[in-house]
């Protein structure tokens, strides 16, 4: 079984602004296995970008733990975090973020200047990355502002691939593209997935999320279960494909851990009226026991977009 790449535990992120505090993440527990293509879906303002920035080591959570390839990121200095981004992560942005005047090849090679990869190896790597995204070779020496949006996004994906990252994070990569072009970009992601890449893609469109192996829903800074409409305290990588992924916390805080091999469903929740803690069973490499410090009330989500509170 593939190892866990991403292991976030009880992440909180509170923004301090002049207008007051915004609690953008309220205890997100999530894990992703190597080779998975996971979509994180949620409405605008639900905390998707905040989560992605935290997972991308661009932002540090106010509390909670984040293990990337088993290493606790919390202890890292700013420079060490930059090193993690340079070597272990690849980003794809909604607005492409290419250097407009640089050539395609130069754009793809850009992340490598922040690594120790020798100059002579860089071009070969960039070419390999570009081959992975189906961009015609004629374009390699074009300036990036001479490309179409879909081409730009594929260059950006190649740039995210060039350092051979453990995890590719994409925030609304199709947000600026029309459906047809967006589908081509999503095909590229699916191909990368079939090559064994680990991808976390953020979107608010169900059509986009459908390309992923599984979808994690977020709302108001918390994960929730689309099937039951209940908030989840943890969404863990499946032990076995199709195995239990979701862990619920009921109103009084009693443990509601689905049995191994079971698909969690409403009946489990109904059977355990309340929990104080949540524990998730797991084998080696799987998220171990997750401790939720304070009881968090389960709040049923009103069906279809209603107000939660």
């Amino acid at each position: 079984m593939n190892p866990i790449v991403l292991d976030a535990r009880n992440l909180h992120r509170i923004y301090e602004t002049k207008a007051g505090q915004t609690h953008a993440l309220r205890g997100v527990t999530l894990s992703v296995r190597q080779g998975e293509f996971v979509a994180i879906m949620g409405p605008s303002g639900s905390g998707k970008s905040t989560l992605m920035n935290t997972l991308g080591c661009l932002d540090t959570p106010t509390s909670g733990q984040y293990f990337l390839e088993g290493v606790d990121i919390a202890a890292y200095t700013a420079d060490e975090l930059a090193d993690v981004r340079a070597h272990r992560l690849g980003f794809v942005f909604q607005s492409f973020n290419l250097l407009p005047r640089a050539t395609v090849l130069r754009n793809v090679m850009l992340p490598l200047i922040y690594t120790d990869i020798p100059v002579r190896e860089r071009e070969a790597r960039a070419l390999r990355a570009l081959q992975g995204v189906d961009l015609q070779e004629d374009y390699y020496d074009h300036r990036s502002n001479e490309l179409s949006g879909g081409q730009m996004q594929r260059v950006a994906i190649a740039r995210a691939l060039v350092n051979d990252p453990a995890l590719i994070l994409a925030d609304e990569p199709t947000g600026n593209l029309d459906t047809a072009t967006g589908d081509m970009v999503l095909d590229t992601f699916e191909r990368l997935r079939s090559e064994g890449r680990t991808i976390v893609l953020i979107t608010h469109e169900p059509g986009v999320a459908a390309h992923a192996d599984r979808t994690v829903h977020i709302r108001d800074g918390r994960l929730w279960d689309a099937a039951t409409g209940l908030f989840l305290d943890a969404v863990v990588a499946p032990d076995v494909p199709g195995g239990p992924q979701r862990v619920f916390l009921s109103a009084d805080g009693a443990v509601a851990a689905p049995a191994r091999g079971d698909v969690a469903d409403r009946r489990v929740i109904d059977a355990v009226p309340s929990v104080a803690q949540v524990g998730v069973e797991g084998g080696p490499g799987v998220l171990g026991a997750v401790q939720v410090d304070a009881p968090v009330g389960v709040r049923p989500i009103a069906p279809r977009g209603g107000d939660v509170r």
Binding site: L58, A78, D79, A86, F91, N97, I113
Partner: protein, 402 residues
């Protein structure tokens, strides 16, 4: 980040903003140009001074008098030689204006009456024949040494071999015995260097007086010229019964003249240095302003670079190197402009002061190194704050920046 990547990033960023970069470095260009023009002009003046000041002239002390009851005469000079210590000899000159005629031409010039020692004191360079000898002077012979410029006006060419030829002054015929390089005569002496005849001949045939215009006291080898100068002045004050020393007598050594020029140069340097300093400071502020704009314009790019793994240090280096390279380019342009300016000023000097014909601005490698060093420093000082500001950006906010 490797140096190679850094320089690539720097030059491509500067290339993107060519006209803005060019305008911004104008202050630096002007500041450095002022410094370089100044130092190479001063260097040139000092060099031409040193080259015109032969070894012998370092010994020479010039004496002039005005409005004195007892004028300078050969007897007075003999007393100076006897009474003031460390004096090798004292030579006097007098001059008169007269028309000198050759067979083909005539020229009105200033004729100097000189003793044999005069040529040693002035360090004159002989191009043909010989100087005036003691015998010429004692016998008041009608012999003449011409300056090259006079040879040209009388005989058509500077290179004409006129030794042995006759020239006429008034009704007297003089035999040309030698030719001296006109420009070798000190520009600080009152003598034009056009033509020399023995002092006695001049006194008897042209001026009819024993009064001298100028005396040169030649200090002994190793003597302190300042002491000799002061002693000479003190002696002449009593000997000539001077009442108003400051007005009536000037006693000055070449070295004093050179050093008084030096202090003038220093004053000039301070002034130019101040102008350059202000201009460099303003230029530096301009650089800082441009770099701040630059950082603001490129916030998203900074955020992107951070997300791709750039550390704060990489961002700092990127912007710092941009401002340093900008300043150094300004400095190099400034050096070129400054040197050209010095050439042009030097050319103007030679137009108005032909005796400085050998003048060329002297640029020293030290000046270039210092100028480049100053530019690097300005780049660092004024680029540091914008670069730090860029490096301190929060990557998430930088990426969100519109």
């Amino acid at each position: 980040m490797k140096i190679r990547d850094l320089s690539y990033e720097t030059f491509s960023a500067l290339g993107a903003n060519k006209s803005r970069s060019a305008l911004t470095i104008l202050g630096i260009v002007i500041g450095i140009a002022a410094v370089i023009a100044m130092t190479s002009l001063i260097g040139g003046i000092q060099q031409s001074l040193v080259s015109s000041m032969g070894l012998s002239q370092a010994h020479s002390i010039y004496v002039y008098t005005t409005d004195v009851a007892t004028p300078l005469t050969t007897d007075v000079l003999a007393d100076v030689k006897d009474s003031v210590s460390n004096v090798d000899f004292v030579t006097g000159t007098a001059s008169a204006s007269a028309a000198v005629k050759s067979d083909s031409a005539s020229s009105s010039i200033s004729i100097t009456g000189a003793e044999s020692t005069y040529f040693t004191a002035e360090g004159s360079k002989l191009t043909l024949g010989r100087f005036i000898s003691d015998e010429d002077d004692l016998a008041a012979r009608r012999v003449i040494v011409l300056g090259t410029s006079t040879v040209k006006s009388l005989f058509g060419s500077e290179d004409y071999n006129c030794v042995g030829k006759q020239v006429t002054i008034g009704s007297d015929k003089y035999t040309v015995i030698g030719v001296v390089d006109s420009s070798s005569s000190s520009s600080l002496s009152s003598i034009s260097g056009a033509a020399y005849i023995p002092l006695k001949t001049l006194q008897q045939r042209l001026t009819g007086t024993t009064t001298l215009d100028q005396a040169i006291v030649y200090a002994s080898e190793g003597a302190n010229t300042t002491t000799v100068t002061n002693d000479t002045k003190a002696f002449l004050t009593t000997r000539l019964h001077l009442t108003d020393v400051d007005k009536q007598i000037t006693v000055m050594s070449m070295q004093q003249i050179a050093s008084s020029l030096d202090s003038l140069m220093t004053a000039f340097s301070v002034l130019m240095g101040a102008i350059a300093g202000i201009s460099l400071f303003v230029g530096g502020i301009g650089i800082m302003n441009m770099m701040l704009t630059n950082v603001t314009e490129r916030i998203r790019e900074i955020g992107l670079r951070m997300s791709l793994g750039a550390r704060g240090r990489d961002i700092t280096m990127q912007f710092l190197s941009e401002s340093i390279v900008l300043c150094v380019i300004g400095g190099i342009l400034g050096i070129i402009v400054g040197y050209l300016t010095a050439w042009m000023l030097g050319f103007l000097v030679t137009l108005f002061e032909p005796s400085m014909s050998s003048f060329a601005p002297a640029i020293s490698s030290t000046a270039i190194a210092v100028a480049v060093g100053v530019c690097v420093l300005i780049g660092i000082v004024f680029g540091y704050y914008p670069a730090k500001r860029a490096a301190k950006l929060n990557p998430v906010e930088a990426l969100r920046y519109q």
